[in-house]
Amino acid sequence: MLKELWNDAEGGFHPASAPDFLPQTALKEVQLRRLRAVVARAYAKVQLFRERMDERGLTPESIQSLQDIRHLPFTVKTDLRDTYPFGLFASPMSDVVRLHASSGTTGKPIVVAYTREDVEVWSEVMARTFASCGLHRGDILQNAFGYGLFTGGLGAHYGGEALGATVIPISGGNTDRQIMLIRDFNVTSLCCTPSYFTHMVERARELGIDLRELPLRVGIFGAEPWTDGMRHHIEAEAGIKAYDIYGLSEIIGPGVAAECSAQDGLHVFEDHFYPEIIDPDTGEPLPDGEEGELVITTLSKKAMPMIRYRTRDITSLITEPCSCGRTIRRMRRIGRRSDDMFIIRGVNVFPSQVEAALMAVEGTLPHYQIILTRKGGMDRMAVEVEVTPEVFSDSIRGLEDIRARLAQSIERILGIRVELRLVEPHTIARSEGKAKRVIDRRNEG
């Protein structure tokens, strides 16, 4: 690792970021070489993948160019469940140094494995993530991602150390202590889910602490979709720059893609994670710039290679050069995850659309929840929004007015009627990790 040699406390680019700036031809060479190696490895070691290749009459030799990737079979989430726990491992347990698992709200969790080399790659891409968000040696990083089976905590921890930052491994929860340490330790940067940070902002205010007056200057947020409206709220309330990062356990955890100073799309660390966009219905690859489902192939994973993994996240790839100088491609922020979508009265709805509608009216109402019920065979959608000091004015008429404007804003975007309820602060459960935005009670009683 490079961190021992590096002594740039003044900012600038960390040496770990070097691959972010590879010339396109060199990058493509690396990608093809690694793609061929990972396909050969998966073919030799993973039965499910070999069977699917054989069915299609493919061998590792079928990959002669990067474009040939389109012939390879997809891997989907249920493949991980069907082979639970270790069926997709390509390394013997003696080489596996770490296991993580997804929360798995329904049925069995998803298990992922790392060799020592995989952990090093993970540290590298997380160091590149933090460097891309403007962190460097000397930064004090409070890591409020949960430590444990969830990949967020340890992924960010190793990356922060690899960068040379001072990592505070506080994990999620105990919000008052989080705020105390931000203040007492002169924390300059913090990572967690955006919803948990909005909770911290709110709690700091209740405690009479103004985060804008503290040294905290960067927030690195991921593990759930959030809107630009929420970003503006966070940046204004906490006096920080808020960056979006992207990753998923099946691929490696956090560290797949990250925003840079331009805050205009997330750079995919594509020397390790090869991105494609496909039409989610036909599976056909779409050209750069078109929106579709993101598919990722891990180019260097040893313990658990993922070939053409379907993320169910909807985005598009940006090929135009970025003002930060990085040459690796960017993907647009994930606004919609197929997994989060619900259908109400025939209309497809993503929670992020509701968030965008709320933030468009009042950028100061970050706590909301969508509640779906069924009455007399008719689906109903209610949105509960917590009242904040910014919108509360001692006037009933003022509150009624906000309620009406919020409802109209949602109805305008979704085209369906919604019952909007203003609720007291802390009515909606706070999450220390991923927020639960939708409560679906349609199949109860």
Partner: protein, 145 residues
């Protein structure tokens, strides 16, 4: 002359009133008077307390959204027409009342009303000129047992 009133956002469902009142009671803060305005879905609890700064801090730390509003307390004669007379003065001066409620205690033949005006300063000036007595915070406290 103006009084500081605390306003709290409450949802209109059973039990919501008790929690904030208990929270300030636990800090030994006595409520001088209160009023409640509500719609089918939510309401506003308005409080006048002795130590509003402490009450505001306690309520905010416990997570309530608290708004600070300036109101005016006025003495009116506690007999038929007493209030009407005060209102006529306000109307003649074109002073807008956003809402009003009665103070829970009386003093002799006087009742005290709490007014929320659009323009409290001008209201105080007009009322004083017309011979009505505007009760300030200290005086209000003095006849609370």
């Amino acid at each position: 002359m103006k009084l500081q009133q605390l306003s709290l956002f409450l949802e209109n469902r059973p039990g919501r009133l008790e929690a904030p009142l208990s929270a300030i009671a636990a800090e030994g803060i006595n409520i001088l008077t209160l009023s409640l305005a509500d719609t089918a879905q939510f309401g506003i609890l308005r409080l006048i307390v002795r130590d509003w700064e402490k009450a505001k801090r306690v309520l905010e730390q416990a997570g309530w959204v608290v708004n600070l509003t300036e109101v005016v307390a006025v003495d009116v004669l506690d007999r038929p027409g007493g209030l009407a007379e005060a209102l006529r003065i306000l109307e003649d001066a074109d002073l807008n009342i956003e809402y009003m409620y009665a103070f829970s205690l009386r003093r002799g033949d006087k009742a005290i009303l709490i007014f929320r005006f659009e323009d409290p300063d001008r209201a105080i000036q007009v009322l004083t000129e017309k011979g009505l007595h505007v009760v300030d915070g200290e005086e209000l406290m003095s006849f609370v047992p």
